[in-house]
Symmetry: D2
Amino acid sequence: MGILLKGGNIITATDSYYADIRIEGEKIVAIGSDITQSDDEVISAKGSYIFPGGIDSHTHFGLDVGSTVTADDFYSGTKAAIVGGTTTILDYATQNKGETLQGALKQQFEKAEDKCFCDYGFHMGITDWNEFVNSEMADMVNVGITSFKLYMAYKKTLQVDDGIIYKALKRSKELSALIAFHCENGDIIEVLIDEARKNNYKSPIYHALTRPVNVEREAIARLLEIAELVDTPVYIVHLSSKAGMDCILDAKKRGVKVYVETCPQYLLLDESYYKGIDVNSFEGAKYVMSPPLRKTSDNLALWKGLSYGDISIVGTDHCSFNYIGQKDIGLTDFSKIPNGAPGVEHRIALLYTYGVLTGKININQMVALTSTDAAKVFGIFPKKGTIAVGSDADIIVWDKDYIGEISAKTQTQNVDYTPYEGFKQHGRVKYAFLRGEMVVIDGNVKIIKPTGKYLHRINGR
Amino acid sequence: MGILLKGGNIITATDSYYADIRIEGEKIVAIGSDITQSDDEVISAKGSYIFPGGIDSHTHFGLDVGSTVTADDFYSGTKAAIVGGTTTILDYATQNKGETLQGALKQQFEKAEDKCFCDYGFHMGITDWNEFVNSEMADMVNVGITSFKLYMAYKKTLQVDDGIIYKALKRSKELSALIAFHCENGDIIEVLIDEARKNNYKSPIYHALTRPVNVEREAIARLLEIAELVDTPVYIVHLSSKAGMDCILDAKKRGVKVYVETCPQYLLLDESYYKGIDVNSFEGAKYVMSPPLRKTSDNLALWKGLSYGDISIVGTDHCSFNYIGQKDIGLTDFSKIPNGAPGVEHRIALLYTYGVLTGKININQMVALTSTDAAKVFGIFPKKGTIAVGSDADIIVWDKDYIGEISAKTQTQNVDYTPYEGFKQHGRVKYAFLRGEMVVIDGNVKIIKPTGKYLHRINGR
Amino acid sequence: MGILLKGGNIITATDSYYADIRIEGEKIVAIGSDITQSDDEVISAKGSYIFPGGIDSHTHFGLDVGSTVTADDFYSGTKAAIVGGTTTILDYATQNKGETLQGALKQQFEKAEDKCFCDYGFHMGITDWNEFVNSEMADMVNVGITSFKLYMAYKKTLQVDDGIIYKALKRSKELSALIAFHCENGDIIEVLIDEARKNNYKSPIYHALTRPVNVEREAIARLLEIAELVDTPVYIVHLSSKAGMDCILDAKKRGVKVYVETCPQYLLLDESYYKGIDVNSFEGAKYVMSPPLRKTSDNLALWKGLSYGDISIVGTDHCSFNYIGQKDIGLTDFSKIPNGAPGVEHRIALLYTYGVLTGKININQMVALTSTDAAKVFGIFPKKGTIAVGSDADIIVWDKDYIGEISAKTQTQNVDYTPYEGFKQHGRVKYAFLRGEMVVIDGNVKIIKPTGKYLHRINGR
Amino acid sequence: MGILLKGGNIITATDSYYADIRIEGEKIVAIGSDITQSDDEVISAKGSYIFPGGIDSHTHFGLDVGSTVTADDFYSGTKAAIVGGTTTILDYATQNKGETLQGALKQQFEKAEDKCFCDYGFHMGITDWNEFVNSEMADMVNVGITSFKLYMAYKKTLQVDDGIIYKALKRSKELSALIAFHCENGDIIEVLIDEARKNNYKSPIYHALTRPVNVEREAIARLLEIAELVDTPVYIVHLSSKAGMDCILDAKKRGVKVYVETCPQYLLLDESYYKGIDVNSFEGAKYVMSPPLRKTSDNLALWKGLSYGDISIVGTDHCSFNYIGQKDIGLTDFSKIPNGAPGVEHRIALLYTYGVLTGKININQMVALTSTDAAKVFGIFPKKGTIAVGSDADIIVWDKDYIGEISAKTQTQNVDYTPYEGFKQHGRVKYAFLRGEMVVIDGNVKIIKPTGKYLHRINGR
């Protein structure tokens, strides 16, 4: 006995066609033009799109940032994920300086286990380097952590120097692993923040002004030089600017291999959001994230990047803090505002509404950007990331007739605001299947207990 | 009753998985993990790749170049195509100056009808411009000719000026059609040829020396300025150089939309081939084509272009002339050597052997480059270009264990040489299906009468 | 007996110092810290700058454009020149299609002889090509015409094709001569004008809209490709855009050698001038010139070009037509408005006021841009273009305390408007010497009969 | 009573003419076409060029590098300078970490005082940052040290981080001072050296291999981003590569203001010199300097940079160590070889012989590159850097008929080798005047006691 999903318009990164899908257990077992199987449960997908379950390759659930812990933990975060059509998330475990990768991983497992409504994996953030870390990188790969992360920003906490970048890339090349990079020049940011504070600048807009576009472009250029020296691919997270995009294109012209991720906020929001209602408003704190929001010309350049294939992945960098009670830690000092914003729930709807329906990207590109390419890059393809025989039955039936509005009031995310408040939403999840089990109906989670599993990843392409 | 293709490794532009394929009539009707249907003919594809039938978007069969007619007509050319795994070709009809598009199309239909072993469509070459041509462009789209071609080279015969390029692009934008461009500056080439002839330079190498890379880059830059003015996509045929590639990348950075095609000869051969055995050798004539072969650094840049997605289509510009009896028209004057070389038969094998097996591209990219993207760009997707339920059963079962060598002696192409003589060939067509009918077994055509049909194309993406 | 110019601040392209200058006959014979010579006429230059006489390398005096003849002939034009501190002009003789260079030169000599208040030379415009023209180029060099001009715009009248550009550059390389280029794509402009006229667009703004920046950048890119092929320097007249500037910088990175000229109008005026008082206003006609005025961002990019040495010459393209009686030929058809604007009189004052005093360029750069570099490039250095012993005593004593306003009412130019009406003017000519003779005092011409001589130029650097 | 230098061909950055020069005391007082003054000492310069005295803006005399002290101190170094036509040098004082600028300056004065055969000034190297250093920068400007230096390489000794670069540039902007930068990424170099040593790589070639061109381009790109943020000009010392040059050109396109210096070694020598006679040879140690020698394509790109004005200064980075007794400290460990090579003596002759006589640059450019531009950039113009009335009589009479060969045997530099051994030398100093005093005749120093004075510099342009 299986499930027969009938008459949907199946969309993959390449294809678009009408067919029935048959699920048996956790897998897709057949796709056909008119499948009949007497004992199957038949579900109609007529008039709907069928997408592979979304993959958000960039979340921070249950993240302790010192002064506070993110509003969303793995439970609420992954619940929001599936509501939005995302059936896999990749979160970041992060080594504390002086500690082991193994330790960081253990902590992260404890946070995630039995709490995830979708399947999950981890990247490992490295903040310290020594021979033991070098050796642990192989251990990580062996347990399915095939991607790492280094920070070029956050001096004194997360930031590593160029020598470590070089050594870690050498090691990642040996292991055929991939390293993701947060590209902002932390040394300069620190000085700019000091300057601003000396000048008694306090409001959220100074978060943006102390992280100008030059510090992103600079870090990208530097990273890509090191990547060229080592001759190995790198992954750039949350690209925010046209300057950064152009810098990447120049390096690719020389032959540097780089995968690029951006996030909905860098496509849809701009620096005008920092201003809030008036100059003393703290509303801008909702948009305090790193890198900061840029100009509309940057938005456009990033949409072009999606359309032209220069950016292959849209993650969210979901990192939520309540406006009341958390963001306001920085009420009188912008530099203390916890960095980050929520997004995991609305990623696919935003891409669909503001990308596909406006013609900025086509629907196959949307699937590639929100699912397929992340699956390939991070080593879970074709188990995840496509609608094909043999793949996990992670399936989104997308009700394209739904019209609504994004609002904190109605969201599943456990946070008191959304940066997309009032944004139109066209389309939503009619049904979401996770490994063959229906977990969402019409935007509501229909299961009680989380059923997400850890993903032991292999090396991606 | 249908055909059941069992156990192959299905490769699309995105996917790679093992499954059975069921064909009914001309279509793929089901893909499943273990399909059983009692009355089907069962064919094993175990151990083989399954590709969508190849699409060669650039052939010249039965082309009259004034002094002679190509060695391959539609009959021999399409026969060679299917042997090589190409089940669709797009050939060029070309208006004569002062004549109508309708007239050119009629002639081309006469040449192709009932002679094609694969499905076929036409692009329409425009060499003259007036109000009537402007109006005929719509007629062409109405009969399925949704792509056109303009030549920036071949002064006095095919070349159009920049005003016509502008006007034709405006019109193509109105019609949502696409124009392909031969990008070489014909004015300069004419002068360089005159210079060479005055200097009594006669041997084939002067073909290359009178078409330096600058004339390609210049024409590309010019075209992309006009495309930017008109704000419509363009298609560049047979890109041959790194300089041209970089020029395209710079224009894309500004937002210009352009599809790029290259050919196996520009990936695998270089200008050293013009030298032949000694300086007076005429061997180089085999490689006289336009644009000419370049340097190995250009080959590498184009491979990078394939790998990075900057080039999306590999056609052949198949245009064959016998070395003895045709190429030798230019024995004492390089400028009289008929331009062109054969290739339709070996395109996929060359990409597989020298691209996939060397790691320069992956196997999904190979499928995209040789089939899927051409289908999308030229408006025949998803009928052609993929392995999906509802698509035409144009299927290649690829014997990956075959090892051979390319040679004129064994080729199906009706021409007395191949530019790839002695090249290794790994893999070949075990079975080729055209709309459900098996037409090739183990590299041999198994049908007598051509069954190819004309493709009424719609506007591509 | 000579003239002793005492106490001025001598400014050359390199130097800035206080010294006395002694003139004997037509030459500077000594520069010293305190020269005394009993029988000299002593003139105080205390508190003034001393510049080498200006060189305007781009004027069109007495030019017949078919429908009318420029308002300024050589008499009024050169009179305005010396009033403004320009003691040398280089005007354009232009071959008519089908006629000889010799014929064009003869006509130009007839127009200029005995009518010039400053020294003068000619560039030779070539509009037609054949063996005889090829041979005449050497004749021109022999009589001191060492620079030529080709037009990439003005289809059917002046425009040449790329083959002619190539051949003329080859010839200029043999002769060590230099060719100046008007870089706009005439084919496209013609089509855009046709389009505009079909749409019944009539007002002057359409002059600008039918000559978009793309047609300038395209022509520059094309020219520089040909120059690279021929491997010889070229000269670009009246650069108007940032896009063009960047295109030149890219070519220079590859090694192409190019001299660049711009004009005050492209530094100081922008497209807003076309709008006039209201949309139906014809005021914009005053600014109808080719290339047209651009955006303020283009102005800034060109100022940067001056400051960074990417542009080495500021000419005027002086080509004056009265607003009443000449510009209004195009009252109901923008494409009939005679192209051009006056400027020879105000060039140096504009550069001084808006360049030097604003800090955009320094005063040595001003001298280089308005005099020295033109002298070097066009083969009249060090006779002209500097303040040095042995050079012609073409000397401007610049009253830096003068403050006035530019106005048609007070100008010497024989035209009923100036594009700089109402512009502030700081500084003016206190004395101008032409080969040792004082010809201007406090902005007034003090001689009756013109004394300018023809300059037999040699090949420039 | 003065000195009358008769009949020379005076060459400045702009001019070239024949005239007499009259010197009175330390100054040039007159330049004239035929000066007679009865009581002057008359010296013939007929047949010679007359250049302004050379300025070497980059020397390290008496530098203690820890393991040893440079072979040339101020005495021998400046003696070699004047022999080669250089009458001004700018050396580097360098703060030790934790110490004051004042202290470093005091030490440097002690080393230089009464020992200099030419005039001299200092740049101040900053290696540490705090409020006191910030304040001392103004003190330095007040005593004539208007330029500073920061190192992006030499981790743990000289290197500063990006935050310090930002702060120092902010401060230099306030003071209208200029900062020079050594652009190599020290973090990466350190790792590469560690790698090489672990691999037991010992020979001098590994010096070059551990400082690849990427580390120079990266540092340049980073610096120019910071300069853009601060909006102030910067100075790049000893540019060595085409990659670096192109990176600079790209930043200038955006508007970044940067002065660029290269050295004769990067124009004339390449990495083949590291190989020595055989692989185990230590000869390569003579060329161990940072950045290292590059490829011939880099040489060519830098020559183009000189010719096109993209590089405005040629210094030497003279830093000499004997091959026997000093360089051999690194006999079994390339990383211990003292960095640097001699050059102050041969700079002008090399530029003249290999630049001017080959046509790569013209003779005015040579003067600008070896004298004028350094004078302007570093605030000693027009006292130094030109031949003009009122300027110091620092004059080189250049015997252009001399033909010789560069050799350690005949050099004045106090070091046992020269990297230019066996290089042809055309031209040499016939007479050198320092502030009116003749100090060199025919390549021999004719005074016993050094007469050089400290130059209190003002802010340069």
